[in-house]
Point group: C2
Chain length 444, copies 2
Amino acid sequence: MARAEKAPLRIGVAGLGTVGAGVVKLLETHGRGLAQRCGRGVVITGVSARDRSRDRGIDLGEAEWFESAVALASSPSIDVFVELIGGESGTAKDTVEAALRAGKHVVTANKALLAHHGVELAALAESSGVALNFEAAVAGGIPVVKVMRESLSGNEISRVYGIVNGTTNYILSRMTHEGRAFGEILADAQAIGYAEVDPTFDIGGFDAAHKLAILSCLAFGTEISLDSIYIEGIETITPADIEAADDLGYCIKLLAVAVKTESGIEQRVHPAMIPKHTAIAQVDGVTNCVALDADFAGGVILVGPGAGANPTASSVVSDLADIARGLVLPPLIVHTGELKPYQRAQMREHEGGYYIRLSVYDRPGAFAAIATRMAEEGISLESIVQRRAEPPASQVKPEGRGTPTPVIIITHRTLEAAIRRALDAIERDGHVDRAPQMIRIEKL
Amino acid sequence: MARAEKAPLRIGVAGLGTVGAGVVKLLETHGRGLAQRCGRGVVITGVSARDRSRDRGIDLGEAEWFESAVALASSPSIDVFVELIGGESGTAKDTVEAALRAGKHVVTANKALLAHHGVELAALAESSGVALNFEAAVAGGIPVVKVMRESLSGNEISRVYGIVNGTTNYILSRMTHEGRAFGEILADAQAIGYAEVDPTFDIGGFDAAHKLAILSCLAFGTEISLDSIYIEGIETITPADIEAADDLGYCIKLLAVAVKTESGIEQRVHPAMIPKHTAIAQVDGVTNCVALDADFAGGVILVGPGAGANPTASSVVSDLADIARGLVLPPLIVHTGELKPYQRAQMREHEGGYYIRLSVYDRPGAFAAIATRMAEEGISLESIVQRRAEPPASQVKPEGRGTPTPVIIITHRTLEAAIRRALDAIERDGHVDRAPQMIRIEKL
């Protein structure tokens, strides 16, 4: 808190895409205020990007241009290396390692890098006594990393969950409000740049899984384990599911959930039905949220923009401000040597039960056969309701099988393996004209 | 990040009520984990409270008992003084001042003290080079102070608003879900300890105003100005208002709002209609939320428990963890010498318009007279609807005046002074049997 002039913090920025340009713009706009708040200036002294000639509409001032990002990472002219290159390996990893080895603090927005190599990079930061900050890597502008790393220091966290992918939430929100099909909305989202040309990484749940792997490590003090995450995307969600959910008092969201159980950690990303009258159900469009169940603080929910140049830049600058203020903490909250090994939870009952939509040939005995398969697996049903017919999957009506009609089943809590076995049996019995839809109902 | 054993941080706790006991319990439960995260232990070495003999169900270990809280505040045996006495002056203020003067860091949960004396206490902390942390003073377990002080360092904030009083939110939530009257629910809330015997401080909006005064200072870098806050409580809200709001797509919440306008800062606490399909509308019961409009981060909302021993203890310990980690920041984000004087905003149009409920004598010309009064003040109406009758305020039906019938008026954006003049005129005209109800519709 001494008010004497401190030397400015010197930043090297590698990667001048949307986020990089956002960081430059933010420092241009709020540089003075930031210096006032941190007690020292934050100045970009070096930059590196693929194409020097591209007009990015930003003023790089007196920053030195580096053809090599690795050279920038270990340059004596910087104190902090900001990695905005992206990718789980290659240049991003090389530069971050070079910077940490050279004793530079590192700020990164790279979730893939952290989900794959977070522990080894954190160990490197610790051995060099520098910061490795990554607020921007999870949920964009939402300050969840800092809240977990600092604000909840006096808590044990039992669950972390949320909506951490903007593309899927945007698509599901529009499907909900417009009643249109997944494919149509996806095409729209691609046209306006809310979904990639190859949307698999987002809609398949993989982006959310990367973020969950990081959140899970911060929440439970366990090693990062991306491969242990059960992942399901939103591709199979239909307007019929959304409508049925609405009737039942739920909405459908792609949820990322990590829970601490007696047998280990359960991590999953999948579409889930959540009660309409919750704050999270109202998180629409590209907005994200992260909820934490903490033993003393209680249930804390953070909502905000999950992506975009400005929110992400705000998080990068928050990380820089911490370093400017001299705050250097173990990147993963506890020292890497004290992280517990990741122990995958054993199969357990899903508390909220299941929603199952079957397209059943409307003929005598079908209901009974389905109910019997459920009973054989010890699954207790809350309701089984026939709804009005959808167009059949095939235009040719199968001989003597009746018209396929949607049947919605809600189960009580049960083992997921039991549900899967029952659905396999129902499919084998030939009562349904397509694969069953199964969506977990989430207790929040 | 050095892993060498550092001396533990020595804490003196004054006040062993609910929150004080919660802090002791938290440190008992999570002391080891906290030490691991902070790189040093956090140990209670001194305590002081009114009654030494009372059984609080907590283990005070080897902490020294101080008969005088002021003596504890400046004792050489502590590094941090935790003030949990409460009250805007008296012992709370004396001890905090004594501690700061003696070069002790201070952690407090005392919103009244800060709302009244925050700037002078912050200046004292600055001149002693110590921390004055108060995460627990605003919105209990929600880490909003730290988010504003650190995470949003690279942002200009244009608005901060939220639900920051649990008692009123609990009462309004139950009125909404149960359709019962204010007085009944208040009595229930008092019976279960959710409302004080004298509930004025909460239901009148004064508690929310204290918190808003602090949030406003943090958001805009202006001096704390509790007296400038426009305050209205929830006493006049009726089930009819809640029902009409619901029909219109809104719910009614006691909102605390501070906005930066061209002419200065607008601070207000009052019941507001907010759209049902927002995350904030779903913040029910004793839960609180704070929303921040930040220019780079975007709209960030924090939701969590607004009070209670454990959430408040979590915030106190978060403040202690910061100090244990060596983080000492200007308490009010910028140095007190750099705070701007508080400039009250000029009267301006309320963007969301107004809801007005009149109890009108049902006779020819009443509607026309009311609409004319509105027109005279230049108020543009969105709708004017007569609803089914309520019981009249008086059992005696006034001669020749017709039965009083509720009329709901929704206005477009307009000046509040114009609304007040129009309502005064309508009341003077004798068309209504009781004072008009006016609720601001809030654009979120």
